[in-house]
């Protein structure tokens, strides 16, 4: 009897609060089991920190309470991921989804669950270039850059340096192939010439044959889209030994202290790039993370915080939790013009939006959404000077 009374009382409170203040539910669908299960708890905590911040402020939609509902995307099992997303929408009745994480399941959920149900999803970590061109009815966004973006950055750096022709070698896997293709098409788009795109296998003793082919094709700069601990260094070594190339460009897989340790001044004048930003957002989120008990420096945690924040800011801007209303507002709140918003300033942002002012959400990962609603990404351009990696600027 006592239990029954308690239960009715609880029910009464729930329904009462539903009457006075609206409740907003955000689904967080990440691979809590599967290949990236070590990353997802941090990512979810990042998203939940943003939700908690907004909920505590009471500024969203005149005092709405925001709660998070977790679901498991498994990262690899599309069937399970779709079922979990279905549950979030039909049974938990969420108003927006942060997720999914891995590119494969993200595409599956988008096509068979989010689009039919008209649900907005913002992925913090799906980086496949294929998602840029996927049909999404304006429902899909991501706070992580597409892998193709780095190709653009490489092309820009080389063009600014006045490089006319390049040879590309890549490590023979999806990462290397995707990056090499992106660099080739971007560099050709800015008017450069790509003499050869050749794969190399990791773990060989000798790369002089590969370098022989690259040298035969020629080029001002050799782009090494490989790994510094693997064949990438072997290629550079053989190219220097035979005198085939003496300037290189190193994408992210090659940027490490190991590179300068291996080659020192021999590669002076070579350029490189890797993800990085000088925006203060990351440092602010680190402090929030220390207080809330999660590690904001773990991969994709800032992107997760930003994904959740963008969802709620867009709802405020549209003054609605209906995905059809707020989906068009996401790009608006994320990009300039407007007052810059950093992590921990969500309450201020919500107030500004209520007053009808424009905001430019910078967040923890310096978000700027481009093209079909994906992060522009932030890259650090480096140059090897006196045998050391030195930062040129951030792009």
């Amino acid at each position: 009897m006592k239990k029954f009374l308690l239960a009715t009382a609880a029910m009464a409170i729930v329904s009462a609060s539903a009457v006075y203040a609206k409740e907003v539910k955000i689904g967080i669908e990440l691979g809590f089991t599967g290949p990236i299960e070590s990353l997802t708890p941090g990512m979810a905590a990042g998203a939940e920190a943003a939700i908690k911040e907004v909920s505590a402020s009471g500024a969203l939609l005149d005092g709405a309470k925001v709660t998070a509902v977790r679901a498991d995307s498994t990262c690899i099992d599309s069937g399970a991921a779709k079922a979990a997303a279905e549950r979030l929408i039909t049974s938990d009745k969420v108003d927006g989804i942060v997720g999914a994480d891995c590119s494969g399941v993200t595409g599956a959920i988008l096509q068979s669950v989010a689009r039919p149900n008209g649900m907005v999803m913002i992925s913090p970590s799906a980086t496949s270039p294929a998602l840029s061109t996927a049909e999404d009815d304006g429902l899909f966004f991501r706070t992580a850059p597409s892998d193709a973006r780095q190709g653009q950055i490489v092309a820009d750096i080389l063009k600014d340096k006045g490089v006319k022709s390049i040879a590309i070698t890549y490590t023979n896997n999806d990462y290397g192939k995707g990056l090499a293709d992106a660099i080739k098409s971007s560099f050709e788009a800015v008017g450069g010439k790509v003499t050869i795109v050749a794969a190399h296998e990791d773990g060989k003793a000798d790369y002089s044959a590969e370098v022989g082919a690259l040298a035969s094709a020629g080029g001002d700069v050799l782009v090494v889209a490989g790994y510094v601990d693997q064949g990438g260094s072997g290629i550079v070594r053989a190219a220097l030994d035979t005198g085939a190339f003496d300037t290189f460009h190193f994408p992210d897989g090659m940027i490490s202290d190991k590179l300068t340790e291996n080659f020192g001044k021999d590669i002076d004048g070579s350029t490189g790039d890797n993800p990085g930003t000088d925006s203060p957002g990351a440092a602010i989120l680190k402090k929030i993370g220390e207080k809330e008990g999660f590690d904001s420096t773990s991969p994709f945690v800032p992107e997760s915080y930003d994904a959740a924040a963008l969802l709620m800011l867009a709802m405020q801007a549209a003054n609605s939790t209906n995905p059809a209303d707020y989906k068009s507002k996401i790009m608006e709140v994320a990009n300039a013009p407007g007052i810059k918003i950093f992590p921990g300033e969500l309450a201020k942002a919500l107030k500004l939006l209520k007053e009808g002012k424009d905001i430019d959400y910078v967040g923890a990962s310096a978000v700027e959404l481009i093209g079909p609603g994906e992060s522009k990404g932030n890259y650090r351009e480096i140059v090897i000077k006196d045998g050391k990696i030195t930062t040129v600027r951030y792009r």
């Binding site: 190399h200 060989k204 003793a205 000798d206 044959a209 082919a213 035969s216 030994d241 035979t242 003496d246």
Partner: protein
């Protein structure tokens, strides 16, 4: 004329120098295989891993020497460590002979059983090497790196093509010549060498004339230990040391030994160079050389590469198959397989 010189230099830099160095390394390895086949009468699959083991001991000794500050700069310290590597490798080879091969020899087992036993020895040696030094790449080259640097060569000659010769390539060729001369002197001039050849030609007659078979076997393993350790160390100095790549060397080395004629030392050397020149030549992109040589309107647009470098091993494998089909005894009339 300048174009012709440039073509010649490019050819030397990308084909001649690397192929001669690689060929010498293969020849030394193939010599070990061919000696075992000629005298002990089986194909030793453990040879690649014997090389890995010998090189590992040389590397560990090199590190020890480097720690103590011993060096013979500008030559690599590894050369100084070679004798120790050879002795430890010899201990391993004689140990496996005592434990494994002698049993089958006494039982007069068929060659295929020996081959299978050597496969087992291969896996165990492989395991020992990975257990001691790990599966990763190790660096142990020190001293000067170049005899001629590409940039300096361009400066000196005014040609647009550079020529680089590494110290390790020079050492490889010089050492290979010395080892081969010494080996042939030993086999042809000394009493022990002659008795080994007699044993290889006709075992029964050799036994009748009073040759001690166990002594012949021991001397063979001594030669194999020397050849394997030197070949492995030269390969490691010139390229890099990683146990797995030594296992992969087994295919080109066997191809070299079979192409030359199994059991024939001269053939092993010729085979080594045939394999290395074909591997490098077939996978080389000839565009650069042709652009210099041909008149402008004939210059090729494509790379003129017969095969991608990924198919390097396919080249030695195809040669192996062709030789076995058309001339099973090899170029220099060895024993047929």
């Amino acid at each position: 004329m300048v174009d012709f010189l440039n073509a010649l230099v490019a050819l030397t830099n990308y084909i001649l120098v690397p192929a001669v160095a690689y060929g010498s390394q293969l020849a030394l390895g193939a010599l070990g295989i061919t000696l075992i086949y000629g005298i002990l009468r089986f194909s030793n699959f453990a040879h690649g891993d014997t090389m890995a083991f010998g090189t590992m001991v040389v590397i560990l000794t090199t590190w020890w020497f480097q720690d103590m500050g011993i060096s013979i700069a500008p030559l690599p310290t590894a050369l100084l460590a070679l004798p120790i590597g050879i002795i430890v490798t010899l201990a391993l080879l004689l140990g496996t002979d005592r434990v494994v091969y002698r049993f089958y020899r006494k039982a007069k087992a068929a060659p295929i059983i020996f081959v299978m036993a050597s496969l087992g020895v291969m896996f165990i040696t492989n395991g020992i090497v990975r257990f001691i030094i790990g599966p990763n790449e190790q660096r142990f080259a020190d001293g000067a790196r170049f005899i001629i640097k590409a940039r300096e060569f361009k400066h000196m000659t005014g040609l647009s093509e550079g020529l680089a010769i590494k110290v390790s390539q020079g050492i490889t060729v010089v050492t290979a010549v010395i080892v081969v001369v010494a080996l042939f002197w030993f086999l042809n001039r000394t009493r022990t060498g002659k008795s080994m050849r007699a044993f290889s030609d006709n075992e029964d007659l050799a036994l009748l004339s009073g040759i001690n078979p166990e002594r012949v076997v021991t001397v063979t393993w001594v030669l194999v230990a020397i050849l394997a350790t030197i070949a492995g160390t030269l390969y490691g100095l010139d390229k890099s040391y990683k146990p797995f790549t030594y296992f992969q060397l087994l295919l080109p080395m066997f191809a070299a030994a079979i192409v030359g004629g199994l059991g024939n030392p001269l053939g092993a050397i010729a085979g080594g160079f045939v394999i290395s020149f074909s591997e490098v030549g077939v996978t080389y992109a000839w565009k650069k050389v042709l652009v210099y040589l041909l008149p402008e309107q004939w210059a090729p647009d494509s790379l003129v590469q017969l095969m991608s470098t990924d198919y390097k091993f396919a080249v030695s494998f195809s040669i192996l198959v062709l030789v076995l089909l058309f001339r099973p005894t090899g170029i220099f009339k060895g024993q047929s397989v």
